[in-house]
């Protein structure tokens, strides 16, 4: 479910920017790191810590939009790729310096321990992740599908020239999308940071998973990205259970390459075709 948040944030940024945000993985790591640092130094309860992390990474998302995405809107997508890769490196190196390389862990959302439901052992943290993930996904869905703001965000994503032509301030909505994307990344980092340690170099891995989820689920499709993320999670869990983590990753990459070799346009094609 945490993958779903990762992929959801990624696809929002993707649609708004019209290009892959390679810094997304590092925003997640940054979320984990902020959570770990503030959590340890202030002993704030996790329920308050979470929104704090979401807001601060949201702000980083805004900064990212301002410096690496909006100024490059008229250039080919590769320029944005490179700018966000540079941004990713900046975040990663800053974190390496700040954390002095020592992995950190984030406090649990609902405290540790586990409890029994109908004979199954349920960890509190996984349960919290699933519930929170579901709530956030539903909230984003509501925002995009049921509010004027969301409609405008989708309009900007679908066709920014047309959106500008009908009077939508495109830049503002791109920034808004990136802020939302950043907030989701921060929350995902918070959640993942308790299960796994936070280390500065994880960003590329997170980013790759989100990238794969989006590519498999249909480029730019929000439900597709969620399905793709869940699919990856299930796939990895099963292969890892049977053959170990290494084979799970290898199988995932091979599966992606196979899909791209057989269907160069992605598993479900692209909503927008080539413009001749």
């Amino acid at each position: 479910m945490a993958y779903a948040l990762v992929a959801l944030g990624f696809v929002l940024a993707l649609n708004a920017a019209g290009a892959v945000n390679f810094a997304h993985g590092d925003l997640i790591v940054l979320g984990g790191a902020v959570a770990a640092f503030v959590g340890l130094s202030t002993a704030l309860p996790a329920v308050l810590l979470l929104p704090l992390v979401a807001v601060s990474i949201g702000v980083v998302g805004i900064v990212a939009a301002r410096i690496a995405i909006l100024p490059l809107a008229t250039r080919p997508p590769e320029a944005t790729f490179v700018a966000t890769i540079a941004l990713a490196a900046i975040i990663e190196q800053s974190l390496t310096i700040a954390m002095a390389g020592a992995p950190r862990t984030v406090p649990a959302l609902l405290g540790g321990g586990s409890f029994y439901v109908a004979g199954f052992v349920l960890g509190r943290q996984p349960l919290a992740i699933v519930v929170l993930g579901a709530v956030l996904v539903a909230a984003v869905w509501f925002l995009l599908e049921r509010t004027q703001t969301g409609r405008r965000m989708r309009a900007v994503a679908a066709d920014r020239y047309m959106a500008r032509a009908v009077g939508i301030p495109v830049g503002r909505y791109v920034v808004l999308s990136l802020a939302l994307s950043g907030a989701l990344a921060g929350i995902a980092g918070f959640l993942l940071g308790h299960q796994f340690l936070v280390t500065p170099t994880q960003g590329a891995g997170h980013m790759l998973k989100a990238y794969i989820a989006v590519a498999l689920g249909g480029w730019g499709s929000v439900p597709g990205a969620l399905l793709g993320a869940l699919g990856i999670g299930v796939f990895e869990t099963f292969v890892a259970a049977g053959f170990g983590d290494v084979w799970a990753s290898a199988a995932l990459y091979i599966a992606v390459l196979a899909v791209l070799a057989l269907r160069p346009q992605g598993l479900f094609g692209e909503p927008i075709g080539r413009r001749a």
Binding site: I67, E78, L87, A204, L208, Y211, V246, L260
Partner: protein
């Protein structure tokens, strides 16, 4: 552009100074810069010239390093050419399916491939030594000054060849492929072959660089295949200048020199490096080498926008273009239904019909941008309906586009470009859309010249008056079918044409 003397000096100076004046430590740094330069130069071919974000260059570098480390104890210095092959052959194998992918899928696929190589390096411990890597092979490889000479000789040769190659038409073709791949295909440029050569050559350079780095450091660990090498490669190329012949060298020199300059800041040099890269992307997209060129005043003259050619020379080639029973469906839409028509040399045929009647689709099918479902297209006796666009262009069919495709490019230049391919037959898509009266008269005169020079022209436009004045025949399409064909007067008088194309009259009446 040919390499200016200024750059030549900068290129040759480091190895000479290193050989004769620097202590071994300084030599190591110059070798390392050369290695990064080689990797970056290879990367420029794919990323700079073709604009494809290849994220597997680091993995190819790693393949070269491992290949050298594994084979050096057995075959000694011959491990270097083996390493080149070890990177180039896998690159050639994956190039086919990879290069069909569009930008973001290409980036993803190369990233997945690189991740696989990295997994292999870490976990195939019998072969690669796992996380500890391989060591103890370096005595069999060139070292010290010899290595320096090898690396920089290859680099200097590479930069000179690169500068020479991309100076003239080749550079223009690469630009066209990068910025307007459809247009490139209609001018007879085989993009697939291009991308293949660039990708494999880039991989070979990465392999060589990897092998040399193995020789320099004496160890190869999974880090050699990792994402950080890839990011370094990408950033140094962007920083130096993605297309400038000296871009990789300048970037590499910074990548090696900066950590020394900023040694007091410890790990912060990578941070500074990333910040600098971002700044370059934002404010100096041509890179530092391009920036230096600008400061030196060596700016190239701005290109002169060409107008319509004054004269049009006759060209050899096929005499008849025949479209026979061509059909094309897009999903549930019958875009073309059993369309047949003939264009001879020295003849101008106008294609008319309401929006969505299949005019542009017909042009696309003829010149190979779309493939017909049924029917035959022939130039004299040669079937061309199965050929890709670049091959159709070489067979003698030129194409101009609607203004939409050209994004800021002048229509006249586009027409001139189509004519300049030397094609016997020209497909012109709305050449008169959105132009003024004077230009319209010039276009009419130009079409007459095309006829005199013996070219066959198939022209789509909404300006019926212009077509009636210039065309020998008109063909009217409606919902993918030919509903009328003949002299302009006949076709305009045809009741079916009036009903469909000029149908607004009927409704108004």
């Amino acid at each position: 552009m040919r390499l200016a003397p200024f750059w030549l000096v900068i290129l040759v100076l480091p190895p000479l100074v290193a050989l004769f004046a620097l202590p071994p430590f300084g030599q190591r740094m110059v070798i390392l810069a050369g290695i990064y330069g080689l990797m970056g130069l290879g990367y420029q071919l794919v990323f700079g010239q073709l604009g494809a974000l290849n994220l597997a260059q680091g993995a190819l570098f790693g393949l070269g390093a491992y290949a050298a480390a594994l084979t050096a104890p057995v075959i000694g210095p011959f491990a270097l050419p083996v390493a080149i092959l070890a990177a180039a052959i896998p690159a050639a194998l994956v190039a086919g399916p990879l290069l069909r992918l569009q930008s973001h899928y290409f980036a993803l696929a190369t990233l997945a491939l690189a991740s696989l190589v990295n997994l292999l390096a870490v976990h195939a411990e019998n072969l690669t030594g796992g996380a500890n890597g391989l060591a103890g092979f370096a005595t069999a490889l060139p070292r010290g000054p010899v290595l320096l000479a090898i690396v920089w000789t290859c680099l200097i040769a590479g930069v000179l060849v690169y500068a020479w190659l991309f100076e003239g038409t080749l550079g223009k073709k690469a630009q066209l492929l990068r910025e307007a791949p459809l247009l490139a295909a209609t001018l007879g440029i085989d993009g697939a072959a291009w991308r293949f050569v660039a990708f494999v050559a880039g991989g070979a350079l990465a392999g060589l660089a990897g092998a040399c780095s193995a020789a320099l450091s004496g160890v190869v660990s999974p880090e050699a295949t990792g994402f950080s090498i890839m990011v370094l490669c990408l950033t140094l190329v962007v920083l130096g200048g993605a297309r400038h012949p000296m871009g990789a060298v300048i970037g590499a020199a910074l990548a090696v020199g900066l950590p020394e300059l900023l040694r007091d800041l410890q790990g912060a040099w990578l941070l500074a490096y990333a910040v600098a890269t971002l700044a370059v992307v934002l404010w100096a997209p041509e890179g530092l080498a391009g920036l230096l060129d600008r400061l030196r005043g060596a700016r190239r003259a701005p290109p002169v926008a060409p107008g319509l050619p004054e004269s049009v020379l006759p060209v050899p080639g096929a005499q008849h273009l025949t479209i026979d029973g061509v059909s094309k469906r897009f999903g549930g839409v019958q875009a073309l239904a059993n369309v047949s028509l003939l264009v001879d040399r020295g003849e101008i045929v106008g294609l008319i019909g309401p929006n969505g009647s299949g005019k542009t689709t017909l042009l696309n099918v003829i010149n190979g941008l779309d493939r017909a479902d049924e029917g035959a297209i022939t130039l004299d006796d040669r079937r061309i309906e199965h050929l890709p666009a670049h091959a159709v262009a070489r067979a003698g069919i030129g194409r101009s586009f609607q203004a939409l495709v050209l994004a800021g490019d002048a229509k006249a230049a586009d027409l001139a470009r189509a004519v300049a391919t030397g094609a016997a037959f020209l497909l012109l898509d709305e050449p008169a859309a959105g132009i003024g009266d004077a230009e319209r008269r010039a276009l009419q005169a130009f079409l007459a010249k095309l006829r005199e020079s013996g070219r066959g022209v198939l022209i789509v436009d909404h300006d019926i008056e212009l077509l009636s004045r210039t065309c020998d025949r008109l063909v009217c399409l409606d919902r993918g079918r030919v509903i009328a064909s003949g002299s302009p007067a006949e076709v305009r008088a045809d009741p079916r044409v009036r009903a469909s194309f000029l149908g607004l009259d009927g409704i108004a009446a």
